[in-house]
């Protein structure tokens, strides 16, 4: 009986799971959530007739493409966070994009070595405070370690990639010794164990559990538009102009890259070029309140909400290089314990 069921199911599965083969298509491996991408991808298909086959992967994307090897169907990768991007580069699963059109839009420091990856959008990691209980409009990252915030600071896990990249940037500014002291001081200020997500810190400000927290900018935008209780989290917070004492705001990026063995290379370039057009930048950037990389898009939703952000000068490659050391320091300081 089992055998019979098995055969039926097998026949069924081959119909259900077989990837559609289309003459014009591009295969997308993404660590960005599909709901975020769908509007742009649908517009792309509508405008170009190229169908997008997508798979949303999280941390295994790089391993998957690497092991799939020469016959991997992957064409385009969409990645977030400089660490993830660099890991793909190090794994040797990318290839130069090579497009004059793209080079015109995206400045060189926002492209990987040999154009192995291309920044699509930027996001900043800034400080938010309780609108009612904290009276200041600007702050430095260094100030977060001030003992006056004792028992008032909330943050997600120190080992989360967003914080990891931030601490790596801090390390680039201040060196290992001071960063470890900073981590210990931050930890001493926490109102609760580091954990949860970025939006949770806003909720915890509303509830009175904390007064000050670190958050990625697009979460602020998403909460401002929420039609549920998250709107009240937004109403309870105030974003501060945040920067390093000797620099600008910590900015991370989302990027696209072409897979080394891309079977549809031309379409891959087309997709990336498309995602940099003002129309797509608005669809993609505004949908998630990220800062567009295309300078033509002047008043993006993110800028309207938070104003212009001056990015810190620390090169992304330095941040990527410091990540391991930052992760070690977080462990050493017992930040997540």
């Amino acid at each position: 009986m089992i055998g019979k069921i098995h055969l039926h199911a097998l026949a069924l599965s081959s119909c259900l799971l077989a990837a559609p083969a289309m003459a014009q298509s591009v295969n997308l491996y993404t660590t960005r959530e599909p709901n975020l991408l769908n509007p742009v991808l649908e517009a792309f298909t509508k405008d170009t007739g190229i169908k997008v086959n997508a798979i949303f992967l999280k941390d295994g994307l790089q391993e998957r493409i690497r092991t799939e090897g020469a016959n991997s169907p992957a064409d385009v990768m969409l990645l977030v966070d400089v660490g993830e991007i660099n890991a793909a580069l190090d794994a040797g699963i990318t290839q130069p994009v090579k497009s004059a059109a793209i080079d015109k839009i995206v400045p060189a420091q926002l492209r990987g070595p040999d154009d192995n990856w291309i920044t699509l959008t930027k996001r900043a990691r800034i400080v938010i405070v309780s609108k009612d209980r904290v009276k200041q409009d600007a702050i430095t990252y260094e100030d977060l370690a001030d003992p006056k915030w004792k028992g008032k600071f909330c943050i997600r896990a120190g080992q989360h990639p967003y914080n990891n990249a931030f601490f790596a940037a801090y390390l680039a500014h201040h060196g290992a010794e001071k960063t470890e002291a900073y981590l210990k001081a931050l930890k001493a200020n926490t109102a609760r164990k580091p954990g949860g997500g970025d939006r949770d810190v806003a909720r915890d400000i509303l509830s009175g559990q904390c007064d000050i927290a670190l958050i990625n900018t697009y979460y602020i935008g998403l909460m401002s538009q929420a039609k549920n209780e998250q709107k009240s989290w937004y109403d309870a917070i105030k974003p501060l102009k945040t920067s390093f004492a000797d620099g600008g705001t910590h900015v991370n990026v989302s990027a696209a890259a072409i897979a080394r063995n891309a079977p549809n290379r031309e379409n891959a370039v087309k997709l990336i070029e498309y995602m940099l057009t003002p129309k797509a930048q608005e669809l993609y950037g505004d949908g998630n309140f990220e800062f567009p990389v295309n300078a033509e898009v002047k008043d993006s939703a993110a800028v309207k909400l938070l104003g212009n952000v001056t990015p810190d000068k620390t090169p992304l490659s330095d941040i990527a290089r410091n990540r391991k050391a930052a992760a070690d320091l977080v462990d050493k300081a017992g930040f997540d314990n």
Partner: protein, 559 residues
């Protein structure tokens, strides 16, 4: 004891057959399937890059993670054992209001994945959850500065939340054994003046020890494997450390090393379980036992029993399901039902169905080979094939990726050379890779389910059949099959539900354009908007509820 249940030593010499080569092959296949990713893991852990990271891991990561993990295991294990054993004893020994309903209601939490229930409790008990909102409305308090409220986002929170949905593993396996205790022995004890309490401690519990150990092992392995709930609740478990080492340090070797530490812990658990089972095995006597009548409880005792059974059902099933239903209705998510969601439901059911059929077929073959075969390696193979459950899904999926992709590339290259066209990646591209991953991960349940089915059949039956001239196929087909069918059905349902809930391997190994309910929930959750995934979450639960109810029924019938 020999009056009611025959105690056998596992090494009792009995007449055995040489298993057919096909069965032996099945055993080998199962063991090899599971061993492949584990070997890949060991190789990675031994690489040069790994030697560099080990001192840091040993100094700053592992001690703390091991400590937290042990506390988590102790807590979840203890609480699950308490809830599982107590409720199983109540519903099998006593009669009280609602008992018949509780018998199956108590299984329902099994349908709810830990990562979903963790989100639900953080929301429910959170500042804007109904609980605190009600409290504030009653008292006039305004914010957390006015009052203290327990935060579920810590170790103790994780223990309670995970135990609330994992205890049914203990309940199911212990209840089956309590139900089997034959009247003679219980009545003899009662006649000799044993109190109810004494009956439980001196007869019920000792006889249920193997079942308790089996159920508890599942609970502990699930706890150990978990990443979604522990991460969300801020517990730094070994599994989470594996994950962060891999992601943040880009060090798969370092992650593999922690995984090896974890595997050592698992081996310890499995050995401990064997020890706990001891030398005893309780097979049913050849004749069906008579069952003890339940003692009718009245008044306060009846109320206490009902409440004791209601509490785990409420915490593990009613509240989370209710919460999801309210979310779905209040956010008008039903309007968002689209073909993509239905397709993902179909995908989930199909993949889980296929995987459970394969796992059961393989598990059964392995168990049969181990029972009939003489060679000790068959037993060893069955142990090895059970190890997949012990490895965190992410690690297992990463370990499987390498050999599966290698096979895929070999096929593709051969096709290109001979047929002149590239068929793409066959295993990964068709979803077969995912089915294989499920089978590897949950084969253990199929094997232990089959084994527990067999263990209830006295080897004397085999001997008798053998003396009467029955061959192996006849023995298995005509004698064993009807007797083990309930246990097999239960194992199949358990595998099915586990596949539905599975996340890490599903995420990593599924083909392009294929989503399952679990990956949809994860997609929403990773954007920090879990509530939008409530409908998919509810569908996972509903899809799992039916098998869970069947499971409860199957167990009930065996009684």
């Amino acid at each position: 004891m020999s009056v009611a249940a025959t105690a056998h030593s596992p090494r009792r010499p009995s007449l055995r057959w040489r298993p057919s080569t096909r069965l032996a092959w099945a055993s080998l296949l199962g063991a090899a399937l599971v061993a492949t990713p584990l070997l890949a893991l060991a190789v990675t852990a031994a690489s040069r890059q790994a030697a560099e990271i080990w001192p840091h891991l040993a100094a700053s990561v592992i001690p703390q993670a091991l400590g937290d993990t042990l506390l988590l295991l102790l807590g979840v294990g203890g609480l699950s054992a308490l809830a599982g054993v107590a409720t199983a004893w109540l519903v099998t020994q006593y009669e009280f209001p609602g008992r018949r309903a509780f018998e199956w209601l108590l299984v329902l939490p099994l349908a709810i994945p830990t990562y979903i229930v963790a989100y639900i409790y953080v929301e429910f008990l959170g500042f804007q959850g109904p609980f605190q909102a009600g409290l504030r409305a009653l008292t006039g308090w305004r914010s957390l500065r006015d009052y203290w409220f327990p935060d579920p986002r810590n170790l103790s929170g994780a223990i309670c939340i995970m135990a609330a949905v994992l205890y049914p593993y203990v309940y199911l396996s212990v209840r089956a054994l309590f139900g089997l205790q034959s009247a003679t022995i219980v009545e003899a004890a009662r006649t000799l003046g044993a109190s109810r309490r004494r009956l439980f401690w001196r007869i019920g519990l000792p006889m249920a020890r193997p079942a308790l150990a089996a159920g508890l092992t599942l609970v502990l392995l699930e706890t150990l494997n978990d990443i979604g709930a522990t991460e969300y609740l801020g517990v730094r478990s070994l599994t989470l450390s594996i994950y962060t080492t891999w992601v943040n340090r880009g060090s798969l070797p370092g992650a593999a090393q922690i995984a090896c530490v974890m595997l050592a812990l698992v081996l310890f658990l499995i050995v401990a379980e064997r020890r706990l089972r001891g030398q005893r095995r309780f097979a049913l006597p050849v004749r069906q036992p008579r069952h003890v009548g339940r003692i009718r409880l009245r008044g306060r005792a009846a109320l206490t029993a009902s409440l004791a059974c209601a509490l785990p059902v409420l915490a593990g099933a009613a509240l989370p399901i209710g919460f999801l239903v309210v979310e779905v209705l209040s956010r008008d998510l039903l309007a968002g039902v689209d073909t993509a969601l239905l397709q993902s439901l179909a995908n989930a059911l199909l993949l889980a169905g296929l995987a459970s059929a394969l796992a059961i077929a393989l598990g059964l073959a392995i168990a049969i080979a181990a029972r009939l075969g003489r060679e000790p390696w068959l037993n060893l193979a069955s142990r090895a094939a059970s190890l997949g459950y012990a490895v965190p899904g992410t690690v297992l999926a990463l370990g499987l990726l390498v050999p599966l992709a290698a096979i895929d590339n070999m096929i593709a290259d051969a096709a290109k050379a001979w047929l002149g066209r590239n068929p793409g990646l066959l295993l990964i591209g068709s979803g077969a890779a995912l089915v294989i991953a499920y089978v590897v991960r949950f084969l253990s349940i199929a094997i232990s389910g089959s084994e527990s089915g067999f263990s209830r059949i006295s080897p004397r039956i085999d001997d008798a059949a053998r003396l009467l001239g029955a061959g192996a196929p006849e023995l298995v087909g005509r004698l064993h099959w009807p007797l083990i069918r309930p246990a097999i059905a239960a194992a199949a349902l358990l595998v099915f539900v586990d596949c539905l809930k599975e996340l890490p391997a599903t995420l990593l190994l599924r083909p392009l354009n294929v989503d399952t309910l679990a990956t949809i929930v994860y997609g929403h959750a990773s954007r920090g908007s879990f509530e939008d995934g409530a409908l998919a979450g509810l569908l996972i639960v509903l899809a799992g509820l039916y098998p869970a109810i069947m499971l409860a029924r199957a167990g009930g019938k065996a009684n």
